[in-house]
């Protein structure tokens, strides 16, 4: 995709050489990306990669330090208010009003968008139904489970009928049931034509949801593509996983087979997973051998390394 000078009408976000510097830290280091209408676009990366900072700039909350940024063809520096009017945000940290009921949280929030009380009430009811929260309408926030709070945040972000939905780690800290529930709703929203941008460090989430994604690290975009494309381009083969023992590594070195060590396991990229697995099992009694297709997680770890991030 090439960048044109005049924004295309269906370009929702267009960032060119976008930079964010704090005093001694460059959080976002000149990234270029664009999001098209109706797309579900993902930002993937380890902690501190610059995902949330990028989201804050797109939300017109944090001013950029350099580069160009257009949301709906407008510059956040001058049109922050009118852009924010068309954006819905699900923050990483819950910021619901703890003193108010579920319903009041939604209606009050809509007032900040100058939506009339009666319209807000109607919309709140239909969103509570969509997110299966009708029964909790009059419940105080602190009585909700983590999954319900997330769903309510999602409902809240839709109160102004946004043209762009921004989700910062939408399923962080949720149990598998709650995560699947959120995914199902997000896919439904995408099917309705919503433009959605999300950040995550859950790779299964990105693989399952995103049409297109970028992997970020240290403020840079490393790669961009659809999940399938990325796996095909960067892994391209199957993976054989086996135990990390001295005999195995010695043998692999001897046979000139390249491999990667990740803690207790060894991972080998290969075109012939079956043959390699058979050889390994024959040669080394009692070791564990698994063959599987390459995944987004392999791409991610390959590009960002295995070092633990603080």
């Amino acid at each position: 995709m090439t960048m044109s000078d005049s924004p295309l009408p269906n370009r929702v976000i267009e960032a060119t050489g976008l930079i964010k510097r704090y005093r001694e830290l460059t959080a976002v280091n000149g990234i270029t990306f664009s999001v098209t209408k109706g797309e579900l676009f993902g930002f993937l990366g380890p902690n501190g990669a610059g995902k949330t900072t990028t989201m804050k700039m797109v939300q017109c909350v944090s001013p950029r330090s350099g580069g160009a940024l257009k949301i709906f063809g407008e510059d956040p520096e001058f049109s922050g208010r009118s852009i924010r009017k068309r954006i819905g945000v699900v923050p990483q940290e819950t910021n619901l009003d703890p003193d108010l009921s579920v319903f009041d949280n939604l209606v009050m929030y809509a007032r900040f968008f100058d939506i009339s009380k009666s319209d807000a009430e109607k919309r709140a009811l239909s969103l509570l139904e969509f997110f299966e929260l009708q029964a909790k309408k009059d419940t105080i926030i602190e009585k909700l489970s983590g999954g319900m709070k997330r769903r309510l945040l999602l409902a809240r972000s839709l109160m102004n009928n946004p043209d762009l939905l921004i989700l910062d780690e939408p399923t962080i800290g949720l149990d598998p049931q709650a995560r699947h529930h959120i995914w199902e709703k997000l896919l439904k929203l995408r099917a309705e034509g919503h433009t959605i941008v999300l950040t995550t460090h859950y790779l299964d989430e990105a693989a399952r949801l995103c049409d297109r994604l970028v992997i970020m690290d240290h403020g840079n975009i490393l790669v961009e593509g659809s999940p399938d494309e990325l796996v095909r381009t960067y892994i391209g083969m199957d993976i054989v996983e086996t135990d990390n023992t001295d005999e195995v590594t010695r043998y692999l070195n001897l046979m000139d087979i390249s491999f990667e060590i990740g803690g207790e396991t060894i991972q080998i990229r290969t075109n012939k997973p079956r043959e390699l697995a058979d050889i390994l099992m024959d040669k080394f009694q009692g070791i564990r051998v698994i063959t599987r297709p390459g995944s987004l997680e392999d791409v991610f770890l390959m590009l960002t390394g295995r070092r633990i991030r603080e």
């Binding site: 909350v61 944090s62 108010l100 929030y109």
Partner: protein
């Protein structure tokens, strides 16, 4: 150009009104707890100091002691209600409840958030003033027409103390450090602003310091004048300090919060 500025100011106040509305809604949800202190506290002060200690005190400046301190109790309650709302309340909403983050993701701007907070703090001061007025009226301790004028003045004084509190809240590294201005500024102000004894009993240097740095002095002076139906030459200075202080501290609070939150 002028029309554009007018429009901008209009939008600013609509946004601030929505922030105010949010705080008012939360206040209403806990109304019973919230309305208790403004009724009980002044009764305690009037009872213990006004009628208790006051029994041993002859008239002050031609007034029975309890009538002398009644206006001061009203003024001090406005100060306390507004200051604590915009010091602790604002800090909790910003830091713990992340309410400001939620607001800033909507068309509302940081200017409107802080302005709304200051207006809300002043509203808390006004609510205190209103409940004390009722008590003073029932006990016959103040001029009814004076009370009527003291109420709008309480709101303006509330803006002043809220603005000051918001400045401290904006620069506080943690909620614990807000106790510095509370004990080093608000507590002495409560005692040395001509509240429980006339200002002229203090050494002249302290009097000047009080007039310069303790805004409660000005509020007490005005409200005492209104409630006891007397006027004072100091009023010009009192009004000037309150108006200028309100503007300066509100603008400063907005700037300080902007510096803290918009990064």
């Amino acid at each position: 150009m002028r029309r554009k500025t007018g429009e901008k100011v209009g939008i600013l106040f609509i946004g601030a009104y929505h922030v105010w509305l949010r705080n008012a809604l939360v206040f209403r949800k806990n109304i019973r707890v919230n309305l208790l202190p403004p009724f009980i506290e002044p009764l305690l002060y009037l009872g213990a100091i006004g009628f208790g200690i006051g029994a041993y005190i002859t008239d002050i400046e031609g007034l029975p002691y309890v009538r002398f301190i009644a206006p001061a109790i009203l003024a001090a309650s406005v100060m306390n209600a507004s200051f604590f709302e915009c010091a602790y309340g604002t800090y909790v909403r910003m830091y713990y409840q992340k309410t400001f983050d939620a607001l800033l993701a909507t068309p509302i701007t940081i200017h409107e958030v802080i302005l709304g907070e200051i207006f809300w703090g002043a509203t808390r001061g006004f609510i205190s003033a209103l409940s004390i007025s009722i008590i003073l009226l029932l006990l016959g301790l103040a001029s009814p027409s004076g009370l009527l004028l003291a109420l709008p003045l309480s709101f303006v004084a509330g803006l002043l103390f809220s603005g000051i509190a918001a400045c401290f809240s904006a620069v506080s590294p943690s909620i614990d450090t807000i106790s510095y201005p509370a004990t080093l500024f608000i507590a002495p102000m409560f005692l040395f602003s001509g509240t429980f004894f006339p200002l002229h009993l203090l050494p002249w240097i302290v009097q000047i310091l009080a007039l310069l740095f303790l805004p409660l002095t000005h509020v007490v002076s005005l409200i005492r004048g209104l409630l006891t139906e007397s006027t004072d030459l100091l009023w010009a200075l009192n009004i000037t300090w309150i108006v200028l202080g309100t503007i300066v501290f509100s603008v400063l609070a907005i700037r300080l919060f902007e510096r803290r939150l918009i990064v």
